[in-house]
């Protein structure tokens, strides 16, 4: 690593890119893509099993693969990508070297080892406990060790992000305030520290319980603290995704935030209030008092919702202002119709915004009320909600960003720009159908995490209204389309990263 302080100047943005940051961004992003590949294969098998017409897997394999799908997608794919994003947002955007690169490699190895242990435990059937691993459902102790290792690695990654901010400030590598994207990612990292702390608080005693050192672990207590990790990790995704929206708006149409004060204040609202939201998972539990529920579902949540509403205005606004400055001023919507729809980044940003807001956000806020939680709790509609937020929102935004990171940071020419663009549309259509199917079936009562919604083996006979099967079929077909889009994503990004033409040092080619 003698050349780790090598530096180049980006011909597109003029930013200084240090070799040590570049390598770490590369390894974390590439690992993320490996995990989305695993999670995607699992997604295919799970969707094909839920579809009664196909019913692919046995019950044992289904629950195993469903656990793997959840963990690989929600945690491994997204967190590896976010760590890459944090290093990009701190080192690259601030023209700085990365603080403590050796420690960053150590963090990466911890995360990788943790992830591999978790996957081995799940695939060998020793941890068929779902993503939530609710106590007293017990997994192999090694499973909890894997999760803890991964979380510690991610926590170190966050520390390196903060360290890099400090280095950049001390070495005066930028002037004035940090860029908006870095600010947003800082909010995500702050939320991440809180989240990972919850993870430590709950997984360490659970590990001790699994090896027999602790006898009783209250199941309700586990649920409360687990969701401080389980849902709060999705709040990191929300915050990182909003930062990526601003980034994509800049990369695709050269947008500039209209009012920095408003955008940044909204991120502060996320930091202050979004972490209190996870308690809505407990609305139908027999533990919390009504006052607790009412306070939690009301102002705590709505101040975070307000932040999302602000971004919902600010993001399209920055794009519109930038487009109008370019002369697309005819009527109300010329700025939108003349936008770069034939590049992956712009449609990825718009579809991500729509899927997150209209499918994920609205369902989330509705299901999060005390009474409507009774109607939706643990149904497939819930699964539809977070496939809107995390898949349609976060994953789609991250996919769009990948195509720009390849030329910008990895200095490779993107192979198959048309495929990349088509992928975004295919994925968005797939996720739309998937979430509509899940939402419809779930509203009629179809349970989540269920091998057989035809109840063929049940002692007491029961069958759903045929509409449930219709919606399930829509979801499965949507899942198939989304998996196709995901496969194209993996194909294009892997081919480009390893076989794309190396860009010349001064070649200012983005896509």
């Amino acid at each position: 690593m003698s050349n780790e302080l090598d530096v180049r100047t980006c011909p597109i943005t003029g930013k200084k890119v240090f070799k040590n940051a570049q390598n770490l961004i590369w390894i974390n992003a590439v690992t993320a893509v490996v995990f989305i590949l695993i999670g995607g294969i699992m997604a295919f098998t799970v969707a094909m099993t839920r579809w009664p017409a196909v019913h692919l897997l046995s019950a044992d394999m289904f629950y195993r693969f469903l656990t793997a799908h959840g963990f690989n997608m929600l945690i491994f794919w997204i967190v590896f990508f976010e760590i890459a994003g944090l290093y990009f947002g701190s080192a690259v955007l601030l023209n700085s070297r990365l603080a403590a690169p050796r420690l960053a490699w150590f963090a990466y190895i911890l995360m990788l080892v943790g992830a591999i242990i978790v996957d081995i435990m799940i695939f060998t059937g020793k941890a068929t406990v779902m993503f939530t691993s609710y106590v007293p459902l017990k997994a192999d102790p090694l499973y909890y060790v894997g999760v803890i290792l991964f979380a510690v690695g991610a926590l170190i990654g966050c520390a390196i992000f903060f360290g890099t901010l400090a280095v950049a400030k001390a070495e005066k590598t930028y002037e004035g305030s940090v860029p908006l994207v870095t600010f947003g990612l800082s909010a995500a990292a702050i939320i991440a520290v809180w989240t990972l702390a919850c993870g430590a608080i709950i997984y360490i005693p659970t590990f001790l319980w699994s090896i027999g050192l602790i006898q009783n672990l209250d199941a309700a207590m586990y649920r409360l603290i687990f969701w401080g990790l389980g849902h709060a990790s999705q709040q990191i995704n929300v915050t990182a995704m909003v930062s990526v929206w601003y980034l994509l708006a800049t990369l695709t149409v050269g947008a500039k935030p209209v009012n920095e004060k408003i955008c940044r204040s909204a991120f502060v609202l996320y930091i202050l209030f979004i972490n209190l939201a996870p308690e809505h998972h407990l609305l139908t539990d027999p533990t919390l008092s009504p006052w607790h529920k009412m306070v939690n579902t009301s102002y705590m949540m709505y101040l975070a919702v307000l932040a999302s509403m602000i971004h919902a205005l600010a993001i399209p606004m920055t794009a519109e202002v930038a487009q109008r400055k370019k002369g697309y001023t005819k009527g109300m919507f010329e700025w939108l119709t003349k936008a770069p729809w034939n590049e992956p980044g712009f449609p990825a940003m718009i579809f991500s915004l729509i899927l997150f807001g209209f499918i994920g956000g609205i369902t989330g806020v509705t299901y999060g009320t005390e009474q409507l939680s009774i109607k939706s709790h643990n149904t497939w509609a819930l699964t539809g909600h977070y496939h809107g937020t995390v898949v349609g929102g976060t994953t789609l935004a991250f996919m769009g960003l990948t195509y720009y990171v390849i030329p910008l940071i990895f200095r490779r020419n993107l192979i198959g720009k048309k495929w990349a663009t088509a992928q975004v549309y295919i994925y968005a259509i797939g996720i739309t159908l998937l979430t509509i199917g899940m939402g419809g079936a779930g509203t009629l009562g179809s349970p989540r995490r269920h091998w057989d919604v035809t109840f063929a083996d049940a002692i007491i006979p029961f069958s759903f209204d045929p509409t449930v099967i219709l919606f399930t079929t829509i979801a499965a077909i949507g899942g198939l389309i989304a998996v196709t889009g995901g496969a194209i994503y993996v194909g294009v990004s892997v081919l480009s990263v390893f076989f794309g033409r190396k860009l010349a040092p001064n070649e200012a080619k983005l896509l």
Partner: protein
């Protein structure tokens, strides 16, 4: 550019359009905040409001006593129980059934005690779709009055092991 540092003084007043949007959003959030309390106090369908701890062993004992006292028959090996009007009703979640099958009367209020003696389960009453989390060690107390006659089914919608998808219970309202 959101990837560049902003100008030195970026703390600027919001534009009129931004102010209008934020004000409307904030007012709507305020309305919904008030509604959260309204729905609870003026609505009639709330989740459990009486937290109570009970060990799985104790819960098994009381639910067995309840079954023995009011048992009227059996279906597929699961006892059918017809409790008297206004009685405390015990519905036990276990891998993988809901015990007992309940025979209730329309228009009569029952105090349900639902708990688990092993893992976490999910109470999902079909076809009206009402769902509650059933946590071992905790009693989910619900006041319920059947408002229509017929057969209702209870699914399990929390993963509880390999037989999760076979776990179905029944409530008959006459």
């Amino acid at each position: 550019m959101s990837i560049m540092s902003p100008e030195k003084y970026w703390w600027k007043p919001a534009d009129l359009q931004e102010k209008i949007w934020i004000t409307i959003a904030m007012l709507w959030c305020l309305v919904l905040t008030i509604m959260m309390f309204g729905w609870h106090f003026f609505g009639t369908q709330n989740p459990s409001i009486e937290p109570l701890k009970i060990t799985p062993e104790n819960y098994r004992t009381v639910s067995e006593a309840f079954i023995a006292k009011y048992k009227v028959g059996e279906e597929a090996g699961i006892p059918i129980v017809a409790p008297p009007d206004g009685a405390d009703v015990y519905l036990r979640a276990q891998m993988w059934n809901w015990t007992p099958i309940l025979k209730l009367k329309k228009g009569v209020n029952y105090k349900f005690h639902i708990s688990s003696v092993d893992l976490m389960h999910g109470f999902s009453l079909m076809p009206i779709v009402m769902n509650f989390q059933i946590v071992p060690g905790h009693d989910n107390i619900l006041n319920m009055t059947p408002t229509s006659t017929g057969t209702f089914h209870i699914l399990c919608n929390e993963f509880c092991g390999i037989g999760h998808h076979t776990m179905i219970g029944k409530i008959i309202v006459i």
